[in-house]
């Protein structure tokens, strides 16, 4: 027997009420296409905002924090047998620098998860061109290392990063800064720090990240320039930026680095907590909408099967009279619900993909968003199909059980 009799009856009922079947399948189709579209949009948005965050934040930042003084030295000096307490402990200035950064980098290079590292020394400065001044931050970096992490080369609108590397008195500035101070490649500008140190640098290039806060304030120079501005020695480094293989697994790597080096580590998640909260809220909104749609689709199937069972109650009675058991009747109607679910799910996958595809080509053009960010993940399609069929199953189960309880004597005798 190719197909069972239950299947055959279910299929016949479906095909003889084609319109009803299509309408209820459309409910599932709509639910699943929305599920896929919403998830693709949310995932796309999340990935986009993550990408924006990671374009200016390293996965892990290693720096030296001022620490509250403790009794360690006192204990060592006074020996055992005494309990030392410090009332009103004060913060100890660490000088904000990382001692012997090259040794630390060498050590960290042995960690297999770490893919890129970049030394930083930064300070806030006043940029000036003639009488016009702008506030900002200058980052002293090895531009090749920095480029590996943040792909600065691709954001350059004029000049190249190699020109900065070749010019000890060069500087790369953001496009916003370049407009405000009316400076282009080859021009000179003055940098002044809070302690009065000044330097005149040649502009080696202009970058545009499309993030306003960065383009309007940031500039990159070679490390010694900032060290000179701060009157510090050649080993003065304030931060080490670290990128790892999987940016979602920062927690344990950062804990390990912290234990290893003794310096404070900050992950990109903790420095972007509000953005991650936004991501969570978006997820919740999307799930709420999607679940609502699926439930509505489920009620559609439930309704139509209830109607079918009401119409066919005599036929169900006859089937039972001629030897169909309760489980056979349940099987017939659950099958019907599942076929509707599968049919709707398949159409929903297609529709979901089509909607996502068309929306992904919608031009937005705001800030650095050109087109609506849409992610295409197989996972969403599999989940969508799964949820669709599950909804159909439960929507069919209740009417099916009701049908199985039909008493043939009552129905046939009227």
């Amino acid at each position: 027997m190719a197909i069972g009799i239950n299947t055959e009856i279910a299929l016949t009922y479906m095909t003889s009420r084609r319109k009803q079947t299509i309408v209820s399948a459309l409910g599932v189709t709509f639910g699943i296409s929305m599920y896929i579209f919403m998830n693709s949009l949310i995932a796309g948005t999340n990935e986009w905002s993550e990408q924006v965050m990671l374009s200016s934040t390293p996965h892990i930042r290693l720096y030296n924090e001022n620490k509250l003084c403790d009794t360690r030295m006192l204990d060592k000096y006074a020996g055992a047998g005494r309990i030392n307490l410090i009332s009103n402990p004060q913060l100890l200035s660490s000088g904000n620098s990382i001692a012997n950064p090259d040794a630390i980098i060498k050590q960290l290079q042995q960690q297999p998860e770490i893919v890129a590292m970049s030394k930083q020394v930064s300070t806030s400065v006043i940029y000036a061109n003639g009488n016009v001044q702008e506030n900002g931050t200058v980052l002293g970096v090895n531009i090749d290392e920095q480029d590996k992490m943040f792909d600065i080369a691709s954001t350059m609108v004029s000049g190249t990063i190699e020109e900065l590397a070749a010019n000890p008195n060069g500087v790369i500035i953001g496009s916003g800064l370049s407009e405000k101070l009316n400076l282009g490649k080859g021009d000179y500008m003055t940098l002044t720090t809070a302690n009065g140190a000044q330097k005149r640098l040649e502009i080696a290039g202009v970058f545009r990240t499309t993030i306003k806060g960065v383009d309007n304030a940031r500039s990159y120079v070679n490390i010694p320039v900032v060290q000179q501005l701060l009157h510090k020695d050649r080993s003065y480094i304030t931060d080490i930026y670290i990128n790892i293989k999987d940016h979602n697994k920062t927690a344990d790597v950062s804990a390990r680095i912290n234990a290893h080096t003794g310096y404070t580590t900050e992950t990109w998640q903790s420095s972007n907590e509000q953005s991650l909260a936004g991501k969570k809220i978006r997820d919740i909104i999307a799930n709420a909408v999607v679940i609502t749609i699926l439930i509505v689709a489920g009620f559609g199937i439930y309704n139509i099967l209830n109607m079918v069972i009401y119409e066919k109650i005599k036929e169900i009675a006859i089937l039972k009279a001629t030897g169909f058991q309760g489980k056979h009747v349940i099987s017939i109607f659950i099958r019907q619900a599942l076929y509707i679910g599968v049919l709707g799910a398949l159409a929903g996958l297609l529709a979901g993909w089509a909607i996502s595809y068309f929306v992904s080509s919608m031009y937005l053009g705001l800030g650095n968003v050109e087109y609506l960010p849409i992610a295409f993940h197989t996972r969403h399609y599999l989940q969508g199909a799964f949820f669709g069929v599950i909804t159909a199953f439960f929507a069919g189960y209740i009417p099916a059980v009701r049908a199985s309880k039909v008493d043939p004597v009552q129905i046939i005798r009227g």
Partner: protein
């Protein structure tokens, strides 16, 4: 001749709207190959009795044995399987499934039983339809043929699993005299040639008088059986 059906002390009560005794201590036997008609006025309990005999109604007191098997107290699923295998029904209305062809309607109980391959079932169903003279309607939807033809298809459906007992609840109640005669002849032939036991409830005295035996009922009791 062996006993096909044996009812002993069957009592049946209805509780809604008021308590009412529909069957009062009904006992009788039917032999294999017998053609029995049950007659009586409306409300005398003859249909009620038939539905108990058919195992569909299990809410009764007493004991029922079909084909030597004691069926009182069996579970609904066991009874459904038993009906599928051993009993055939013909109702006043044909109760065919209108979405299926006549042939498919006849095949369904056999497909449920699942003893034979589909090909053979189709062959058997077609033969049954042929025997009942409705073979040329086989592929038409069950809702598109005349009342007499529908009833004959329903009889074919009742016969498909070769049941030994066939029950009819006013099988000719909705038919004209010509079709009534056809149905009667079919029943008569089934009893004589194929040794089927036939129990029909009927209002039609003519139909009843031509059968082997008449059981007359009144007020839930058997008045007399010839």
């Amino acid at each position: 001749m062996s006993i096909a059906l044996k009812a002993e002390g069957v009592n049946k009560y209805f509780y809604t709207p008021d308590k009412f005794q529909a069957l009062n201590n009904v006992s009788f036997e039917v032999k294999e190959g017998e053609f029995v008609s049950v007659i009586g006025k409306s409300g005398c309990g003859k249909s009620t009795m038939l539905y108990i005999l058919s195992t569909m109604d299990t809410d009764y007191v007493g004991s029922l044995t079909l084909k030597g098997q004691h069926v009182t107290g069996c579970s609904q699923n066991e009874l459904a399987a038993f009906r599928n295998r051993h009993l055939g029904f013909v109702f006043q209305f044909h109760y065919l499934l209108p979405d299926f062809s006549c042939l498919k309607n006849v095949m369904i109980p056999a497909l449920r039983l699942g003893k034979l391959p589909r090909k053979e079932i189709e062959q058997n169903a077609y033969e049954k339809l042929q025997k009942l003279g409705v073979a040329e309607q086989a592929l038409k939807p069950a809702s598109r043929i005349s009342g007499g033809q529908q009833q004959r298809v329903a009889i074919a459906r009742a016969l498909i699993n070769e049941p030994s007992i066939i029950m009819g609840d006013e099988p000719t109640g909705n038919l004209d005299s010509r079709n009534t005669a056809v149905v009667f002849d079919i029943f008569r032939q089934l009893a004589e040639e194929y040794n089927k036991t036939i129990i029909t409830v009927t209002h039609d005295i003519d139909f009843a008088s031509k059968s082997d035996r008449i059981i007359e009922m009144m007020d839930g009791k058997i008045l007399n059986q010839q």
